[in-house]
């Protein structure tokens, strides 16, 4: 296994030692990439809101896609910045932001034929899994191996999980749309609803793990740093409870918790912007602080998951009636 990975690394390692682009170029490229992906998706997307509320499965699929959009956007920026910080020293490090950009475009553009879209998201999810393996390898080969410091500062162990989740959300959207067409809305939501809710809960907890690790690295120096390790777990738990026991109360509780989590994800961006300012030199020293300060694109992954979770709740609500 290690041999194979070494071989893989050898193939993928680029000979370049220095950073390939300047900070200015990177930020411009990331911003342009993000805007271009959004524009492409938005301009080419079909009107959809009319049918949204007619069918819970269709509505859920839309929410899943929305969630995938937010997650893919978060992954795109986060991985671009983090891999730039890592000097893009492996060719493989270009894969994550590229795949995320394609996923983002695919999630935004509802005109993409479903099989292609499924393929894109499945690829995104697979790249995410490969990313998990690469990051684990990166951690293990550093002096100290599986140690706290390598978990803090080597390739972030859980970060590619966001990519897996983004792929999963997009793929799940296609899947339930397809299932609905094949077996009808009612059966789809009965069969898929609880499973999807439990998987979403697990996904939220995975993201919590990453926030917990990084906020622990920051010694929870600000009390607000406890929010992403307390609120989303409540949301995840409530979603799991609703999946197992979908009553009006459990679903309402979960909706509240998920909505709060979605808002917290947005507020998290503001906190992280402030966090960058608290570093030496503040935003004037952005060429350093954007990379060492708290990751600004990271908190919206909670928003993306919560949006998707709210969609999944609609499947459960129907169950209860």
């Amino acid at each position: 296994m290690a041999k194979a990975l070494e071989k893989a690394e050898e193939v993928l390692v680029s000979p370049r030692r220095g950073p390939p682009v300047s900070d200015e170029t990177l930020v411009a490229a990331a911003a342009i990439g993000c805007v271009a992906a959004c524009l492409f998706g938005l301009l080419s997307r079909r009107r959809r809101h009319a049918r949204n509320h007619a069918d819970p499965v269709a509505a859920c699929a839309d929410s899943l896609k929305d969630g995938a959009v937010v997650l893919a956007g978060s992954v795109l920026l986060d991985s671009a910045f983090e891999h730039f910080r890592g000097n893009f020293r492996n060719r493989a490090m270009y894969v994550a932001p590229t795949t995320a950009a394609v996923s983002l475009a695919a999630a935004l553009n509802r005109n993409v034929p479903r099989p292609l879209r499924s393929g894109i998201f499945a690829t995104g999810g697979t790249v995410g899994v490969a990313g998990l393996a690469f990051h684990a390898y990166n951690i293990m080969k550093r002096p100290g191996g599986l140690s706290w410091n390598n978990l803090f500062y080597a390739a972030p162990a859980i970060a590619p999980g966001a990519m897996v989740l983004s792929g999963f959300l997009g793929y799940a959207a296609s899947h339930i749309e397809h299932a609905m067409e094949r077996t009808g809305s009612e059966r789809t939501r009965r069969e898929v609803g609880p499973v999807l809710a439990l998987l979403m809960a697990a996904g939220i907890l995975g993201t919590v793990a990453e926030a917990a690790l990084l906020h622990f690295r920051g010694a929870f120096h600000d009390p607000f740093m406890f929010v992403p390790v307390s609120l989303p777990p409540i949301a995840a738990t409530s979603l799991a409870v609703a999946a197992v026991k979908p009553t009006e109360e459990t679903i309402r509780a979960s909706r509240w918790a998920l909505t709060a989590t979605a808002i917290a994800g947005v507020l998290g961006v503001a906190f992280h912007v402030y966090g960058v300012q608290r570093n030496m030199g503040g935003w004037r020293n952005w060429t350093q602080n954007l990379f060492v300060g708290p990751p600004i694109p990271a908190p919206p992954s909670f928003t993306g998951l919560a949006i998707a979770g709210l969609g999944v709740l609609r499947l459960l609500k129907q169950n209860e009636e």
């Binding site: 002096p143 690295r217 608290r278 570093n279 350093q288």
Partner: protein
């Protein structure tokens, strides 16, 4: 030199705000005639800590420092030459078989003392060292049990928000460090690789610089100029921790105030401190005098305060004041790596190995040493190279051209407390008319076996990490001893509380108290001792035993 004009700053009811440019914080002031509870000489790890805790307990405190009161954000340049202003650069005569280098090597002269330039390595003494004679059969016992010292380590580590590893690999379990360890730089990873190849543990060094924001301190930016002053304020020096606490609690800090003598009054009690400030000699009256000037200036002041009753200097009835000076052996191995290391990034010592502090087998010497990764600034590195090897010419310039490919490992090695290593007063006088100290230092045969063992081990480790083309350097670091504490008045200068046996209201609170020096940097032990002395004084004060 820019920024080094010597104007009083702590005056007119205010002191510099160390967290702002050009700003001030209010400061309570006392007149010279007012008999304060405590006059403290020195504001480093010992003096500032004591001043803060005593002021917080309601005592009136005046703390003097010979150096200036800096605002790091605006006063500290990224420049080795300019930053010489942080050091004690007055002459000290240095002799013996291994003369100690002073100045930039070990002696600060600023409010905050040597913690303004220290490299922030925050290690604890091994528990056994506090009862070294009883349990290990060499050295001396400390008069304080290790459990108590370890409790105080915990207190001061929290006060300084030490960034250290979640699990520290040596010694009994300790609570988690308040802040997480920093990312280890390439120079530290060289140590890690070497240690793993040698089959010994290593750890990210616990450091007194924050890895996340703390109040007005932003996290460390890894600029690597730690040894010449932190202009980020990430370094938790006494200047930005205990000194502001002391001021807020009502202590007065007097900058540019050089103590010349401790004045004795009646009944064998100290009456105050004679000090030089703004061109004149002044006297501060005090109920208690604490000397916290570090291991050269503390004995110098005591010896220079001799009276008819104390002809050989204050607190010196045993003749031990100035004796048993200890400076850690600070030998190093340097090598060239194929990798670009760029050791100028990050604090100088980001990885540590304490294996030979905790392992007693396989040694041909008594004592212990730790070794750490290195990241000297250019002139500092060149200085070490030329003073040790005599290299010059194009060979030197070419060697320095490999600066970014260098890696080094350096020890903090225990030395024996021996009376021939000492501080005395010479016949020469400084510009204030005070006698210049004469220091004599040399390594014992045991000390030499220790550093030879270390050089051999570190060279193997460095080689295993991929280095070649080695050079060795010899040096010393830190200053300890010269007024040792103990349980026996016949065999020590102070008791466990830093209270001198001879004069009940004269105290010592700095590295001079160390009976032995261990194989770790002394700052945390000085902080911990000071925190303990403060608590003991509070207890005694409450019982009316001052």
């Amino acid at each position: 030199m820019i920024g080094s004009e010597r104007h009083l700053r702590a005056t007119a009811g205010r002191a510099p705000d160390v967290f702002a440019r050009g700003d001030w914080v209010p400061m309570r002031q006392f007149s010279d005639e007012e008999e304060v509870d405590f006059a403290i000489v020195g504001t480093g790890a010992g003096g500032a800590t004591l001043a803060a805790k005593l002021a917080e307990a309601g005592f009136s405190v005046v703390a003097l420092d010979a150096g200036p009161f800096w605002r790091p954000l605006e006063d500290f340049a990224s420049d080795e030459t300019e930053q010489n202003k942080l050091y004690w650069l007055q002459d000290r005569i240095s002799g013996g078989s291994h003369p100690i280098e002073f100045g930039t090597n070990n002696s600060g002269c600023a409010v905050g003392g040597s913690t303004v330039h220290f490299q922030m390595v925050a290690l604890r003494f091994r528990p056994e060292w506090f009862a070294q004679r009883s349990t290990m059969g060499y050295g001396r016992d400390w008069p304080i049990p290790w459990q108590e010292m370890w409790r105080y380590y915990e207190e001061v580590e929290d006060a300084l928000k030490i960034a250290g590893p979640v699990n520290y690999p040596w010694g009994p379990p300790r609570g988690r460090y308040p802040y997480r360890a920093h990312e280890v730089n390439a120079a530290g990873l060289v140590l890690a690789k070497g240690a793993e190849a040698m089959g010994v543990k290593w750890a990210p060094t616990p450091l007194a610089t924050v890895s996340a924001p703390r109040g007005k301190s932003p996290p460390c930016v890894y600029r690597g100029f730690c040894k010449i002053g932190c202009s980020t304020n990430a370094k938790q020096s006494a200047l930005i921790t205990y000194v502001p606490r002391a001021l807020a609690a009502g202590a007065e800090i007097r900058d540019l105030a050089m103590a010349g003598q401790i004045e004795m009054g009646e009944n064998n009690r100290a009456r105050g401190v004679v000090y030089h400030r703004q061109g004149e000699w002044r006297r501060q009256r005090a109920r208690n005098v604490v000397v916290a000037g570090y291991a050269i200036e503390t004995p110098r002041l005591l010896l220079n305060s001799a009276t008819a009753q104390h002809p050989s200097g204050l607190a010196n009835s045993t003749g031990l004041v100035g004796k048993c000076l200890m400076a850690h052996s600070n030998h190093a191995v340097w090598g060239v790596m194929d990798d670009e290391i760029r050791w100028y990034k990050g604090p100088p010592s980001m990885a540590v190995c304490e294996h030979w502090n905790y392992e007693d087998k396989g040694k041909d010497f008594q004592g212990g040493y730790s070794f750490m990764s290195q990241g000297p600034l250019p002139a500092d590195h060149a200085k070490g190279l030329v003073t040790n090897t005599g290299m010059f010419g194009m060979e030197l310039r070419q060697r320095m051209a490999l600066y970014n490919h260098m890696a080094g490992l350096k020890i903090v090695g225990e030395v024996e407390p021996r009376e021939e290593n000492r501080v005395e007063l010479s016949d020469e006088k400084d510009e204030l008319g005070l006698p210049v100290p004469r220091i004599t230092f040399g390594f014992s045969e045991n000390d030499k076996r220790l550093y030879k063992h270390a050089l051999h081990f570190m060279r193997q480790a460095l080689e295993a990490a991929g280095a070649r083309d080695f050079t060795h350097t010899a040096s010393t670091a830190h200053l300890m001893g010269t007024c040792r504490m103990g349980d026996d008045p016949a065999d020590s200068v102070t008791n466990a509380d830093g209270r001198t046996w001879d004069i009940p209201n004269l105290w010592i609170c700095d590295g001079s108290l160390f009976p032995t020096c261990g194989g770790v940097n002394p700052s945390m032990t000085i902080y911990a001792l000071a925190a303990r002395v403060a608590d003991r004084i509070k207890e005694m004060g409450a019982r009316g035993e001052l």
